[in-house]
């Protein structure tokens, strides 16, 4: 038996892991997903049907602070129809996490990893007809990177913080020529396309307008994407129309995003045909609609890793690796996988934090079996006598539609090996606060939906990246640091795999399931894309009229 480093250190990084789990999972209850298309045809521009209205419903995804220009978070799928980033989610036939060119046509990195050059497509225009050139892109990037920039808004710049640090490791951004942007970093990076993909490019002339964001009219000309915003009400709905001067063919005439906060009403809206694509249903409604309602499942490859994290147990017995292994064996994870996720969207996982396709994933690891007898034996070996453990969690957390039931099932299984486990359901803000203040003993975490391994690993182990920060777990921190500064993708991947092996060997986080995001689409819609980067574009979706 080996205790995990010092208890304090382990608890500290697990607390941060908790922060990541909540952070990455809450916004991702949307259509964010990784992988496949809905239907056939791989969404080729020439193969789709032009026209029609694409109506999409979800429980909670329409931001109240829509107008906060360029700091928008990654979960704003509606925004990414109106404005594109330099790169965007892999669509078409891609099932992995790879990015495609968005407004960019090319990307190069200098051998020292410090200079990143982005070439722009030619002939692109904003929705007011002004050119999307290097100057416009530089204006957007500067606002995102530099706190004193005049275009900087009141947003949180989450993606910049988690991918490039706070303050970001950016020395300068400049226009080399009208179609080339150069970004110079202070620390080497192999690839910064993920960070750039999440920075949507807006018309800087409109952003500079004092009235920007005060009404829909002020937003009409701001975008760079395939659809122009025509109407919007905070947390209620968003309506967009085709922008004919977009550089690719845009198939739907119009798009309507409808927020319906009640999951039951959302299911009814889908049944009644008010919406064609629906996300955020309860599992029972999802399964029932997919069987009988004329809807089909649009699922991705696994994109989220659902884990059990022992963040700060009061009883020090949980520092014992044997006890943590016993918990892993006691959980009937196959049953959870079958019961708590949408049909066909989950599989038993063998390693936590990341999923297959993200650098750091270790192929070939075997999932631990469900073995209560062995678990009881481990508990006895460790001398554990009815330790108490509270599993806390929010009322809802994607991709689990019945979060409380999952936590109760885990608690019941832990009870079978002598752990006195209870469940504490809290509202999301209270839970987040409890995590921040170290009041959560254990929780179910669901990180994922991200292409950049550092977003997942870094935040899991040490919180937002700050250059020069001291890390908490020596061996993992060493490897993570080295991976950050790796000059080649191969070297980076090897180091991250070592981090994963450490995580699995020491039972630092207990894996439960790999889960795909899934939505339902009715018969009117084909080629609905789902990508792991949460930057899907719906311009190639066919809607039969």
């Amino acid at each position: 038996m080996t205790a995990v480093s010092s208890g304090v250190e382990r608890r500290e990084f697990l607390r941060r892991a908790g922060m990541l789990g909540v952070g990455l999972s809450l916004p991702s209850g949307l259509l964010a997903a990784c992988g496949s298309d809905a239907g056939s045809g791989a969404g080729t521009t020439g193969g789709g049907t032009r026209g029609g209205v694409l109506s999409i419903g979800a429980t909670d995804w329409l931001p109240p602070d829509f107008f906060l220009g360029n700091s928008l978070g990654p979960w704003l799928l509606g925004m990414s129809q109106m404005a594109w980033g330099l790169f965007r989610g892999g669509g078409g036939s891609g099932r992995g996490f790879e990015l495609q060119n968005g407004l960019a046509s090319g990307y190069e990195v200098s051998p020292d990893g410090l200079v990143h050059t982005v070439r722009l497509r030619r002939g692109m225009v904003f929705h007011d007809g002004s050119p999307i050139d290097a100057d416009a892109v530089v204006a957007n990037l500067k606002a995102a990177f530099f706190a004193r920039d005049p275009l900087r808004d009141r947003g949180t710049y989450v993606q910049v913080i988690i991918t490039l640090g706070s303050p970001p490791i950016v020395r300068s951004v400049e226009a080399v020529d009208p179609h080339t942007v150069r970004i110079t970093l202070t620390e080497a990076r192999v690839d910064i396309r993920v960070a750039l993909a999440f920075l949507l490019i807006f018309n800087p002339k409109v952003l500079a307008n004092k009235d920007y964001g005060t009404d829909v009219q002020a937003l009409r000309d701001a975008g760079s994407g395939p659809f122009r915003l025509t109407n919007w009400q905070a947390k209620s709905f968003m309506e967009l129309e085709r922008f004919d001067r977009f550089f690719e063919d845009v198939l739907p005439d119009r798009v309507r995003l409808q927020g319906i906060p009640d999951a039951g009403a959302l299911a009814l809206a889908a049944r009644g045909g008010e919406i064609s694509v629906v996300s955020g249903l309860a599992k029972s409604d999802f399964d029932s609609l997919s069987r009988t309602g004329g809807h089909r499942i649009v699922a991705s490859d696994p994109a989220v890793n659902v884990d059990l994290v022992l963040s700060k147990p009061k009883d020090p017995i949980f520092d014992d690796e044997r006890v943590r292994r016993a918990i892993l064996l006691a959980m009937d994870r196959q049953a959870y996988t079958d019961r708590f996720f949408n049909s066909g969207s989950a599989q038993l996982s063998s390693e936590p934090i990341i999923v297959d396709g993200i650098p750091g994933f270790v192929p070939g690891l075997q999932a631990a079996p469900h073995d209560t007898t062995a678990a009881r034996a481990l508990m006895a070996q460790a001398g554990a006598k009815s330790p108490k453990l509270t599993i806390a969690g929010p009322t809802a957390q994607a991709p689990v539609s019945d979060f409380k039931a999952l936590m109760e099932a885990i608690a019941a299984d832990l009870g079978a090996i002598g752990i006195d486990a209870s469940v504490d359901v809290q509202d999301p803000t209270a839970f987040s606060d409890a995590l921040d203040h170290g009041r959560v003993e254990a929780f179910v975490s669901a990180p994922g939906g991200q292409a950049d391994p550092f977003i997942l690993f870094d935040l899991f182990y040490r919180g937002p990246y700050m250059p020069g920060a001291t890390h908490t777990v020596p061996s993992i921190a060493r490897n993570l640091d080295a991976a950050h500064k790796a000059r080649t993708a191969g070297e980076r991947d090897r180091l991250l795999q070592q981090v994963m092996r450490d995580t699995v060997d020491r039972q630092l986080v207990l894996p439960i399931s790999w889960v795909a995001y899934s939505v339902l689409a009715d018969g009117k819609v084909t080629d609905f894309p789902l990508t792991c980067t949460q930057l899907d574009s719906w311009h190639r979706v066919s809607v039969s009229t």
Binding site: R16, M19, L20, V22, G23, V53, S55, P64, D65, F67, L68, R154, T156, Y157, V158, I161, I162, S166, T230, N231, Q233, A234, K235, S236, F237, E239, R254, R256, Q258, G259, I260, P261, D262, G264, A265, L268, A269, R271, G272, E274, Q426, D427, P428, T429, A430, S432, D433, A434, L435, D436, L459, G463, P464, M466
Partner: protein, 335 residues
């Protein structure tokens, strides 16, 4: 009457301070840090959180925060919404009209029907009308509105396809706002198809919510009419050969309906509570859904202000009840 009015006006500020103070204290007692959420949640650095805390005055002591809120509120400034990133007055300005529309429609629908049912039940005790009224009254106070809403939506919208389920207007309908009440605005602008569309969208949530006033009105009308119809002057009227219809509507109604004014004063604020659930089911962007979201996000200024509005409504409606009494009942005036 003037004294009643002055008394109400004098009590008003005390009540409003009480309501906002209660909301303020309860909200701050619940765990959750809006500054952290605003600064980027778990991604935020401690410096960013502190900066945000300072920016919104959350680093000050609770008494100072409350004093600032009340001081500004008196001047018409209800503060800045954390979640919406704009003044609370603007947010409320957008959200109050839809709720007024919904609650108003529910009252207009529920109260007359409830009255008629209550009167019918009182006139024919132990008849099927009486049993139906009792059943509806019981249902109105005991059936959860969200459940009823979902059932109605399933039947009327999904199965029968008669009415739309969510939102206030059909997709891509445009309506220039005047009052913010879509049905009224469409009428004022002469957009008849939009008026019809708004009415169809209003129907289901309004029918759902109307069960509350219907139940209240029916119960009170029944009880009140039973009492009044048993009184001597009614018996005398019958002895004089006056028709039953005239007795009920001309003589009994005056006395029987007086207590209903009190009920209406209670129903209006209670409907706001019902609207919270109704708005969530029917994706109705009103005050109820705003309050729900604001509580989850710890959007202090919005929660306090919605409570303020609700408190104000309660005080105003009870004041109106008193005034109505004074107008309708000469005995009260004399007293």
């Amino acid at each position: 009457m003037t004294r009643t009015l002055l008394h109400r006006l004098a009590v008003l500020p005390i009540l409003l301070v009480g309501v906002t103070l209660l909301a303020f204290l309860l909200l701050h007692a619940v765990p959750g840090d809006p500054a952290r959420a605003l600064a980027g949640g778990r991604y935020a650095t401690p410096q960013q959180i502190e900066q945000t805390r300072h920016q919104y005055g959350l680093d000050r002591s609770l008494p100072v925060q409350y004093e600032r809120y009340v001081g500004n509120a008196v001047q018409g400034d209800l503060g800045q919404s954390f979640a919406f990133q704009k003044p609370v007055t603007k947010v409320l300005g957008e959200r109050i009209p839809p709720t007024v529309e919904l609650v108003g429609a529910a009252l207009l629908l529920g109260v007359p029907i409830g009255l008629l049912l209550g009167i019918a039940a009182a006139r024919r005790r132990d008849s099927w009308a009486d049993h139906l009224t009792t059943l509806l009254s019981l249902a109105g106070v005991s059936i959860p509105l969200f459940w009823l809403g979902l059932m109605l939506a399933w039947l009327v919208s999904v199965k029968l396809g008669w009415l739309p389920l969510s939102g206030r207007l059909s997709p891509f309908q445009s309506l220039q706002s005047i009052t913010g009440i879509d049905v009224l605005d469409a009428l004022l602008r002469g957009q008849w198809s939009t008026f019809w569309d708004a009415l169809r969208h209003l129907a289901l949530p309004a029918i759902t919510l109307s069960l509350v006033p219907l139940a209240f009105a029916a119960r009170f009308a029944r009880a009140s009419f039973i009492e009044v119809l048993g009184q001597d002057y009614v018996r005398t009227a019958r002895a004089y050969g006056i028709g039953e219809r005239e007795i009920v509507w001309r003589h009994a109604a005056k006395n029987a309906l007086l207590p209903l004014v009190t009920v209406l004063g209670i129903i209006a604020p209670a409907l706001l509570v019902g609207a919270v659930l109704c708005e969530a089911v029917f994706a109705w962007p009103g005050l109820g859904s705003l309050l729900l979201g604001a509580m989850q996000a710890r959007d202090y200024a919005v929660v306090q202000s919605v409570m303020l509005v609700m408190g104000l409504l309660f005080v105003v409606s009870t004041a109106l009840v008193d005034l109505s009494y004074a107008l309708l009942d000469p005995r009260t005036r004399r007293a």
